[in-house]
């Protein structure tokens, strides 16, 4: 693949105006111009995504325990998967995690970002607003394992801070076996996830708010709009791209959740907090049921890619 040395890499984005050169130059050469720049990324993509994905899909059509020769069994693993109560239960749990990692943080993040940007920054000062923003973001910086262990302490039924606080204020009857009781485990995990996740939308939305023309707010104020109305009528439509980004990335993150579950509950008690990613890992590594784990991972990938495509479509429609 030899290229004329003077060919400039084609800029990405909207069609550029050819500068200092006649339009309609040697098109094929111009097109090929960016290809060398794609090679490193493409190679990495192939090595860490394309090949493993292809192999994973291949394995999911076999019966294999990790060594030896896989036996081709067609769609038997998928048939088994769709009849597996644990898979459905873990998928339902995953919906709850999407709520806790995408929907609730996005909603709360919007309120918090609005409050920080509009109220705290303007009335108290920019510095306290920045400090608060950093504080909200802190859990995002902590490794999941560290945050998880701290929360394990807090939620420990015996010596945990949560129960100690309840006892201290005299609400002994409200003390819970937070992560050990099937009725509270998922809610507790969701609470931890909201705490971990909240900083991300706050930071993104605050960045988005900088972009919004202040005149819009000024004229709305002149028209007597309330804070709430301004939020819903101006802020939300104006930072819609940011909302899409947050919803997409957080939903994907929620579907991939593994680390938090691994540290907090290992899917327990009695499968009450199991999620497909953890379930897949269990089959891969603990049960030597590699092909079944691969089938779960494949289904998960299809769902994530499908959702991502839907989101991106909705977003480009919204922008168009």
């Amino acid at each position: 693949m030899t290229l004329p040395a003077q060919t400039a890499p084609a800029p990405t984005g909207p069609a550029p105006r050819p500068a200092g050169r006649r339009a309609g130059g040697p098109r094929p050469a111009r097109r090929a111009g960016y290809l060398p720049y794609l090679v490193p990324g493409a190679l990495i993509f192939i090595a860490v995504i394309a090949i493993p994905l292809a192999v994973n899909i291949g394995i999911s059509f076999t019966r294999w325990d990790g060594v030896g020769t896989p036996d081709w069994v067609g769609i038997a693993q998928y048939r088994r998967l769709f009849a597996d109560e644990t898979f459905w239960r873990s998928s339902r749990n995953n919906l709850a995690l999407i709520l806790a990692m995408a929907v609730i943080p996005a909603f709360l993040g919007l309120l918090l970002a609005g409050a920080l940007f509009d109220v705290v920054a303007k009335r108290v000062g920019q510095r306290p607003a920045n400090a608060l923003r950093a504080a909200f973001y802190l859990p995002q910086v902590l490794p999941a394992a560290v945050a998880g262990i701290v929360w394990l302490w807090i939620l420990h039924p015996d010596y945990g801070a949560a129960n100690a606080l309840l006892r201290f204020v005299g609400l002994d009857s409200f003390t819970q076996n937070w992560l050990g009781d099937e009725s509270t485990a998922l809610l507790s995990v969701m609470g931890v996830l909201v705490w971990i996740q909240i900083g991300y939308p706050v930071v993104i939305f605050m960045a988005g708010l900088q972009r919004v023309d202040p005149e819009l707010y000024e004229s709305a104020e002149l028209d007597g709009a309330s804070w709430w109305q301004k939020l819903w009528r101006i802020t939300v439509p104006q930072i819609r791209p940011e909302i899409y980004v947050v919803m997409l990335t957080c939903t994907v993150a929620a579907l991939k959740t593994f680390d938090k579950i691994y540290v907090l509950t290992r899917g327990g008690p009695g499968g009450a907090t199991n999620v497909p990613a953890y379930f897949s890992w269990q089959n891969f590594f603990e049960r030597s049921n590699v092909s079944y784990g691969a089938a779960i991972a494949t289904v998960l990938t299809v769902i994530i890619v499908g959702l991502a495509v839907l989101f991106l479509r909705a977003q480009s429609k919204g922008e168009g």
Binding site: L35, L38, V39, A42, L43, F45, I46, A47, A50, I51, D65, G66, V67, G68, L155, H156, P157, D158, N177, W178, L179, G180, D181, E182, T265, R266, G267, G268, P269, G270, G271, Q282, N283, F285, E286, R287, S288, N289, L312, S316
Partner: protein, 438 residues
């Protein structure tokens, strides 16, 4: 932003590059080969026992001894974690990075699986030649020998343990004295001791429900009604297992009763094994039903009270030979590996293990001097002497551990009835059995 044309081109690039990568992924054969006997050699050894544990101490000494008897050999010891080996063993053993000798988990789902896949060396000849079969009692040999389906108790030796382990009751002597209780020797006495503690407002058992301890108690309860035939059917598939037979039903119902009576705290569902141990060590609970792997730690860390151990009051208890030495099929230094195992089976190394809180398989009874260690070893010998080694509940099927943890959590929380829980543990068991047959 993303046009179809670009996508197609990208795909083409990926496709070309894939073939290139695939072409260079297969790197030649194992160069080097084994050195001649006289030249410098290396024995690559993996195990996952902590350096201060009984096995860690004894095996470190074995390495020293090996080095002095094999001056041309360097022992390259790489400490691994239990999880690391458990999760990656099949894949590592299939590669060039495999060690020459390693400690591995015994049982159908672990060593059995690897032996079936041809990843482990059949040691039968060396075992008889070196007389290890005479050192290990029949009971202990079960976990060393596997048949061609990878089921223990078979005909070929694939591993050798140099220690044993069993589940017992650790108890806080001071708390027993406060209640005027003596050491229970029967199941009824154990129950009435627990009642006494309940009346005094003390939860009698330190239990972990998020890890192994709770389901081991369930199994211990089953063992109070079980016989050898029952254990063999469950562990070695010698006959049909009925999960709703009187033994399992009794175990599940009694377990629930123990929760209702407060012998087992409902909160234990979220307690880890580590929490369970530290709670016992700190003197919060009078008893802990768990394995000899705790022994060394209790010896070192309990300072505030006197403690001891007694046998589970039944004919049998969860117990077996310890993890086994296995020699990966790909090892090029099998002769050295056998020599090393041999050192760990000798009296000297066995006595060292016994004096450090381990349960040796071939020690000199007189050479173990520490009183608590003596009690530990004598109890084991009693149990082994009455054919009481019943293995562990999670052995029969790969991944059964998670199933049992989840099922017992439901028993503790009361979110499923004993019958439902028994159905739940029956299903994966039977699936595995069908796989084995197929």
């Amino acid at each position: 932003m993303f046009t179809a044309g670009k996508g197609v081109r990208l795909l083409a690039v990926l496709a070309v590059a894939t073939t290139v990568l695939a072409a260079c992924s297969n790197d030649g054969d194992d160069g080097g080969g084994s050195a001649a006997n006289s030249g410098p050699r290396e024995l690559k050894l993996w195990h996952y026992e902590g350096p201060t544990s009984a096995m860690g101490v004894a095996w470190a000494e074995a390495i020293k001894e090996f080095q002095s008897s094999h001056p041309n050999v360097t022992v390259k010891f790489e400490e691994q974690s239990f999880e690391q080996i458990q999760k990656t063993a099949p894949m590592v053993l299939n590669s060039d990075d495999a060690p020459d000798l390693m400690e591995y988990n015994k049982g159908n789902a672990t060593a059995g699986l690897l032996s079936k896949q041809g990843l482990l060396t059949d040691m039968t000849e060396e075992v008889t030649k070196r007389g290890w079969d005479r050192l290990l009692s029949e009971n202990l040999q079960t976990t060393c020998k596997y048949d061609q389906r990878g089921i223990m108790g078979g005909d070929k030796w694939f591993g050798v343990p140099n220690y044993a382990e069993y589940i017992m009751v650790f108890y806080n002597k001071d708390m027993f004295a406060q209640q005027g209780l003596s050491v229970p020797t029967s199941f009824d006495q154990l129950v009435s001791a627990m009642d006494k503690f309940r009346q005094a407002g003390v939860t009698p058992l330190s239990v972990s429900g998020s890890e192994y301890a709770a389901h081991q108690i369930l199994y211990q309860l089953a063992l109070t009604k079980a016989d050898r035939g029952w254990v063999d059917r469950y562990q070695r598939y010698t006959g049909k297992v009925d999960f709703h037979d009187s033994v399992w039903t009794y175990a599940a119902n009694t377990f629930v009763e123990w929760v209702q009576k407060g012998y087992i705290d409902k909160q234990s569902t979220s307690i880890t094994a580590e929490d369970m141990g530290t709670a016992f060590i700190s003197g919060k609970f009078p008893m802990m039903i768990s394995g000899s792997w705790w022994f060394g730690r209790l010896q070192k860390e309990i300072t505030g009270f006197k403690w001891g151990s007694f046998l589970w009051p039944a004919q049998m208890s969860a117990a077996s030979g310890g993890n086994i030495w296995v020699i990966p099929q790909g090892s090029k230094n099998k002769d050295l590996a056998y020599d090393f195992i041999n050192i760990t089976m000798q009296k000297q190394n066995q006595n060292l293990l016994g004096n450090n809180g381990g349960v040796p398989v071939a020690a000199d009874p007189g050479a173990v001097t520490d009183a608590q260690s003596k009690e530990l070893i004598e109890n084991f010998n009693t149990l082994a002497g009455r054919d009481g080694l019943a293995f562990y509940p999670d052995w029969p099927a790969p991944g059964y551990y998670d199933v049992l943890v989840a099922a017992t959590q439901k028993l503790i929380n009361g979110s499923a009835s004993p019958d439902q829980v028994l159905d739940e543990i029956a299903k994966p068991y039977e699936e595995n059995l069908a796989n084995l047959g197929g």
